[in-house]
């Protein structure tokens, strides 16, 4: 594939996508705009034809890997099939054309979907209340920790200034705690992938506002002593935050509410199959226990008889408030609603079952071609970790090299170097929507690459060879900042 010029390089002065440029406006219509508030130089947007635009962005699109094209086993990201039916339903004119401030009387169809989605999330999480407001996982986390804070403050329990976080946690967890004004205290993880319970107990204290954790954790295993952990934190007066990024693993099997969590966020763009869009949008609804209900982010939807309406801060006066100008990422919520309706009761349960089946199968098969599991004695949840520290030591081929080489096999690389506590690791999540053959192909590719690593390590270290570019100079990117194009 040849290099694609920038849209600016395709630009020629005076060229235009005429069908998109309405006739210019007579200046008299702008006469009331004071000259000193007017723009002096026109902004340098590209001047291109419509065909150029279509061709350019079509060609660029082909430089992406995507679920629609490749197996994409990114651990912790749940890259599963994004139903096209959900896209069509969410893009129905009635939904797309609705102004966010339209009166409730003219929003009943939309509100009905949201209300039912709340109910569905309520049921699958076992939490007492659900708010769909947060616009991504991280904003869900923010809401959750903000609610924990609000809870303590409402009780006058002001000394709690620390959030506990297992060291395997996703970066958004500590970042969120900071954004909410908390200090972060990391809790070590044991050799078996479970949190070090002793260390946790020691860390708990009157300063503990709460614990943020994922279960199954980003180590790809189910935290077996979750109840002891919950008890320890609760006894210390802290609350439990559940990072629901891994909800896919336990959908229909265990409910965070039943495990004792006080608040949970869900990544609908993971578990509920809405697309990742090359970096969003997502949606990060939160579910809360009874005691956090008064603090839920607004708005939420309620039903009075046959009509639906918004519930806002006037009715939830202690709410942590509004996180967006309007009502969150509506289009993502609609896609998730569609997905949930298609799955239904039975389907929802199968998600956890089959994603777990796929992960355990893939783990065993990978072991059979020489990969080493980080937690060989554990069940994989919907994802698992393998480590290449031996390869790194023996052949100087690192996890990153293997990741890049996978691209040459037309396989997207798994998440690499995360969680940080396992050296040279891959976090692999196959999801329930990939066929067994797809898993087997990945195994085959991995087997080949491990062989290459032994026999011709330079080959692997030089990868990729088949992509639009070879390996990129990240250091230069950060040092010689080139963030916008100029002639």
């Amino acid at each position: 594939m040849s290099g694609e010029q920038l849209i600016f390089e395709l630009s020629r002065s005076g060229r235009r996508a005429y069908a998109q440029a309405p006739k210019p406006v007579d200046d008299k219509h702008l006469s009331d705009l004071p000259a000193k508030l007017r723009r002096k130089e026109r902004p340098g947007l590209p001047e291109v034809s419509e065909l150029q635009v279509v061709r350019h962005y079509t060609r660029l699109s082909q430089k992406n890997f995507a679920i629609d094209k490749q197996f994409y086993p990114l651990g912790s990201c749940t890259m599963k099939y994004n139903p096209r039916g959900a896209n069509r339903a969410a893009m129905l004119p009635g939904f797309l054309g609705r102004h966010p401030l339209a009166p409730e009387s003219h929003s009943q169809g939309y509100l009905a979907c949201l209300y039912e989605l709340q109910e569905i999330l309520h049921e699958v999480t076992g939490m007492a209340g659900v708010s769909l407001a947060p616009m991504a996982g991280a904003q869900g986390e923010f809401s959750g920790v903000a609610m924990i804070r609000a809870y303590h403050q409402a009780r006058g329990d002001d000394g709690r200034n620390e959030i506990l976080i297992p060291e395997a946690a996703h970066g958004t967890n500590p970042a969120t705690a900071s954004m909410c004004g908390y200090r972060v205290r990391e809790v070590p993880v044991g050799k078996d992938g479970d949190v070090d319970l002793e260390a946790l107990r020691e860390a708990c204290g009157p300063q503990t506002a709460g614990l943020m954790m994922t279960n199954p954790s980003t180590c790809g295993v189910f935290e077996r002593r979750i109840e002891e952990i919950a008890a320890a934190v609760h006894e210390a007066g802290g609350l439990l935050y559940y990072d629901g990024a891994n909800l896919n693993a336990i959908l229909g099997k265990v409910r965070p509410g039943d495990m004792g969590f006080d608040v949970i966020h869900m990544n609908l763009h993971k578990t509920f199959a809405t697309p990742h869009g090359g970096g969003g949008p997502g949606a990060g609804p939160v579910g809360v226990s009874e005691r956090l209900k008064p603090y839920m982010p607004t708005p939420v939807v309620t039903r009075d008889g046959d009509t639906y309406r918004w519930v806002d801060t006037d009715e939830i006066p202690d709410s942590i408030g509004h996180l967006s100008a309007f009502q969150g990422n509506a289009g993502v919520l609609l896609r998730a609603y569609f997905y949930a309706r298609v799955l239904g009761r039975e389907g929802m349960i199968r998600v956890g079952e089959y994603s777990t089946l796929a992960a355990n199968y893939l783990l065993r098969r990978l072991e059979s071609v020489g990969c080493r599991a980080a937690y060989p004695d554990r069940r994989a949840s919907h994802e698992f970790i393998i480590s290449f520290s031996r390869e790194a030591k023996e052949t100087d081929v690192h996890a990153m090299d293997i990741a890049k080489r996978l691209l040459d096999y037309n396989q997207h690389a798994p998440t690499a170097y995360f969680p940080l506590l396992v050296p040279e690791c891959f976090l692999i999540e196959p999801t329930e929507t990939e066929t067994r053959e797809a898993l087997d192909e990945f195994v085959e590719a991995m087997g080949e690459i491990l062989r290459e690593a032994r026999e011709s390590p330079e080959l692997v270290k030089g990868a990729p060879y088949t992509q639009p570019v070879r390996r990129l100079d990240d250091v230069r990117a950060a040092k010689q900042l080139d963030l916008t194009w100029s002639e």
């Binding site: 635009v53 350019h56 009166p103 169809g109 949008p281 009502q327 969150g328 298609v342």
Partner: protein, 453 residues
């Protein structure tokens, strides 16, 4: 088993490879008493046909209002190519471009987007989007606190002419870091922020001043004077702008002597449908000087091993996955697809197109104002220049008028500032973009006359 490909044979063989008897056995590490029941409350699964029918019926229910509401979300024409391209599987179903070599498409789009936004706002750099305009302002405020080395305070001057919902979001998001919003009232005559209203803070330790352009009422602020005053007082300037307005109005980078320091805004007008409020995307730009304080993803151009240009995530040391609790923000997933659409949208419109759109919006709103103020008892609330949106005073409560216009005339008449501002119960904020026709404006006029008669 919707979306699950495994055949009974597959399952059997997979379990055999694992060495397990049943799928249930794979969950044997989960304490038995924690196991969920059968999710009885969930409805039964539907086929795509059935689920589509449910949603189509609901979407139809909500259709049909002719939209004269703006207030932060605007109905514009979106070229068909925009979403036909953006929903291509290669954009729609890709993850964040962590594997740069396998994501050059998305990465180059972002680099182009950054360039477009920087040019539109006349700033040096842009990030790859934040959630929306309101949360973007919150991020900008937090960023200003970090960036303003001269200030030790957490105080921010916040004009009341800033969109009330933006101020609410700043409240919700910044409160935990002790940010104090100091409200600055607007002039009752013009709806804008007078220099005299901020002057009392001269010499005080203030981290940032927020300047909306146009402001919530569509009124145009004296951006030059405010910017210069702020900078003279060591205060960073955060511009909050409508990106379409940037085709005609002075961009923040050119406000006053040295321009704004940070710019945010709602990207929705750039090719994103109203869609019930989201997904939209917030844009965020700043001066080069402050780029390391900017939250969110940033793409840089670099070269590969063979010297060919390529694109990659850069300055990741600001981000949560590297910096964890010391990150500039917790933002991770942003609004990539909406940003992709906006990039294609801007490429299709070009400067001419964007100027024409902005011009028609303004001309239409002027025509609308003329028509509506011809009705007895209807008049503009504020004098002075505005862009594309304006507040009207009605002879009675605007909420009920709005409801009647929706129920009986199929018109979404605007938005109600009285929800946020005392004494504005009779005010209606109206807007007519380039998609509104003369007939629709006339229809609104007639309907309002009827409702008020």
């Amino acid at each position: 088993m919707p979306y699950i490909p495994h055949t009974p044979q597959d399952v059997k063989e997979m379990l055999a490879a694992i060495g397990a008897e049943s799928i249930e056995e794979l969950f044997d590490e989960i304490p038995g008493h924690l196991k969920a029941g059968r999710l009885e409350a969930l409805p039964e699964g539907l086929s795509e046909m059935e689920a589509t029918a449910v949603m189509a019926a609901r979407a139809r229910q909500d259709e049909g209002l002719v939209c004269f509401a703006g207030a932060g979300a605007y109905e514009h024409h979106i070229p068909a190519a925009v979403w036909e391209l953006a929903t291509r599987g290669e954009y729609y179903t890709a993850y964040t471009p962590y594997q740069a070599e396998a994501s050059q498409g998305t990465l180059q789009v972002i680099y182009e987007y950054q360039t477009m936004m920087a040019r539109l706002t006349a700033m040096d750099v842009s990030n790859a989007s934040v959630y929306d305009g309101a949360s973007g302002l919150a991020e900008a405020v937090l960023m200003a606190l970090r960036a303003n080395r001269k200030s030790k305070s957490r105080r921010v001057l916040m004009p009341e002419s800033v969109h009330p919902r933006y101020r609410q979001a700043v409240d919700a998001i910044c409160v935990h870091q002790g940010v104090e919003q100091i409200s600055v009232a607007f002039e009752s005559a013009t709806g804008t922020t007078a220099l005299d209203s901020v002057k009392p803070y001269s010499g005080e330790d203030i981290a940032a001043l927020v300047i909306p352009q146009p402001n919530f009422f569509g009124a145009l602020e004296e951006v030059d004077a405010l910017t210069d005053w702020a900078h003279e007082n060591g205060i960073l300037v955060i511009g909050v702008v409508n990106p379409v307005a940037m085709a005609l109005l002075a961009p923040p980078g050119e406000w006053g002597e040295t321009g704004a320091d940070i710019v945010v805004g709602e990207g929705q007008p750039l090719g994103v449908p109203l869609s019930s409020g989201g997904p939209y995307f917030g844009f965020m730009c700043c001066t080069k000087k402050h780029v390391r304080q900017m939250p969110g993803r940033i793409i840089g151009r670099t070269v590969d091993e063979e010297g060919r240009p390529g694109y990659t995530l850069t300055l990741q040391a600001r981000e949560q996955h590297i910096r964890r609790s010391k990150a500039t923000s917790n933002i991770c997933t942003n609004q990539g697809l909406a940003m992709t659409a906006a990039t294609i949208h801007m490429a299709l419109l070009g400067v001419d197109g964007l100027e024409a759109v902005a011009g028609h919006c303004h001309a239409n709103t002027r025509a609308l104002l003329e028509r509506l103020t011809a009705i007895d008892g209807v008049e503009r609330v504020f004098e002075g220049p505005f862009f594309h949106e304006a507040a009207l005073r009605l002879p009675r409560d605007s909420r009920t008028v709005l409801q009647e216009l929706a129920d009986n005339h199929g018109i979404l008449a605007g938005h109600v500032p009285g929800l946020y501002y005392e004494g504005m119960e009779n005010t209606l904020l109206v807007c007519a973009t380039e998609v509104r026709t003369d007939e629709e404006i006339e229809r609104f006029g007639n309907a309002l006359a009827e409702v008020l008669a």
